[in-house]
């Protein structure tokens, strides 16, 4: 059976979207991994008000964990040269004004680029919005990292989100364990890259939204 990309490979592919000088906010879960695979010169932002924090503290060095230095997902980081601490008002000025790249997880992305990633549908208490709506609306580029399908095999890239949305027409790029898909405003979803061994047709079969499939679809490169 053909393999899907593992989480680290997805993170490596997402990390490729970040260039020297970029500032990025890495969302809860999967996106956190990107911090491990970026070149020098990228700074990460945490909503609490830290830009440019250092490497994550790993489980086997828990004694180094300091609550004062946490990333956007609440994981322990470390101070680093060039870091800046600020308050949440400044943090959301940064987030809302296109100064950051946002890499977030997703429950669903629609063919228009609507994002659902905060609420599983059981009313207001069915999720945690945090800064997700600000990032989705305000980031320079919104990259969604997620599995291509749910655990029971249902498409997560859909015609219309069935979960409550985070923001309308906000997603720029979707990176899944099967493909890289670009959202073209007012046109739809353009398949850009596929996981090794997968064909565009196979990807379309696992995608509810119709994909624009150009002739030059490549294999995902890292």
């Amino acid at each position: 059976m053909k393999q899907r990309l593992d989480e680290d490979t997805m993170a490596m592919r997402a990390a490729k979207e970040l260039k020297d000088g970029d500032c990025a906010n890495l969302g809860f879960g999967l996106p956190t991994l990107c911090a491990l695979y970026v070149p020098e010169g990228i700074r990460f932002e945490a909503e609490a008000g830290i830009l440019g924090y250092g490497p994550l503290v790993q489980a086997n060095e828990a004694e180094k964990a300091d609550w004062h230095y946490i990333d956007a997902s609440g994981r322990f980081t470390r101070p680093a040269p060039g870091m800046a601490c600020f308050d949440v008002v400044a943090s959301f000025c940064m987030i809302r004004s296109g100064r950051l790249i946002s890499i977030m997880g997703g429950f669903q992305v629609s063919e228009k680029g609507d994002l659902a990633n905060w609420n599983t549908g059981s009313g207001m208490l069915g999720g945690t919005v945090g800064g997700a709506m600000d990032l989705a609306n305000g980031a320079k580029k919104v990259i969604i990292m997620m599995q291509h399908t749910t655990k029971d095999g249902k498409p997560k890239i859909v015609k219309k989100c069935s979960y409550p949305i985070t923001a309308r027409e906000c997603v720029d790029l979707i990176i899944t364990d099967l493909a890289v898909i670009e959202v073209i405003p007012r046109k739809g979803l353009r398949l850009q890259e596929v996981a090794p061994g997968w064909t565009p047709k196979e990807i379309q079969a696992l995608t509810e939204a119709r994909l624009i499939i150009p002739k030059d679809v490549k294999e995902i490169e890292l």
Partner: protein, 260 residues
Amino acid sequence: MINKVFTSFDEAVADIPDGASIAAECWGYPATPQNLIAALKRKGAKDLTIITHTFIPMVYSEEDAALPSLLLPQMKKLITSIAGIMNLGAGAFLQEYVDKGLEIEIVGHGTLAARLQAGALGLGGIYDPIGLGTLLEEGKEKRVIKGREYLFQEPIKPDYAFIVAHKADKLGNLVFKGGYRGDQPAMAMAAKTTIVEADKIVEVGEIDPEHVVVPGAFVDRITEIPEDGYGTPEKGAKLIGLLTQISSVRDLLFGKVEQR
């Protein structure tokens, strides 16, 4: 010099009446004014409105930490951007209180910050671009300004702000550490009365004027966290030890980057 220093947390919160609104940070676990929260629990004021960025359930004993959720039985309303961490059972732990009448207002975090900032500036309202087309637009006035749609949002002006600072001088000038600033400067500026617990109280002149984050004019009462208080480095280390024994929390704190 006027004395803003209180030696007792209980005295510092003694005047908080039933029905008061209180802004208190809760970021990570100990970026929380835990000693003031515990004192307010002891005092027992009722019908409180709590404004906090995250409302984390108490997954450990009250001896180890005192988060805003400790006040649940005393609360009438909660304004927050995170009503419980999904992986820790989402908002389920709140449902019991909602059923008993607790009102919950979910607000995006940036909007929460903007509403506190609006409160601090004395504004009557703001038009915010965030939340359009989502559950959070329900009941909000919409307005198109220069071709773009916005939601009307009310300012937040809490009666009290509970603040946890790294250092406070005796005039109330505050400095923070790392990500502990969070919403706290906006909360301190927006609140009618600001009560601080600081890792350390220092003499006037010990904080460089350029390094002050919240100027003393915004600060009314100052307390110092004692060695056996909540939020000390020792208690923090102990908590991490306890939390990493809960697998779902361990996954949140270290999971994805374990053994890489």
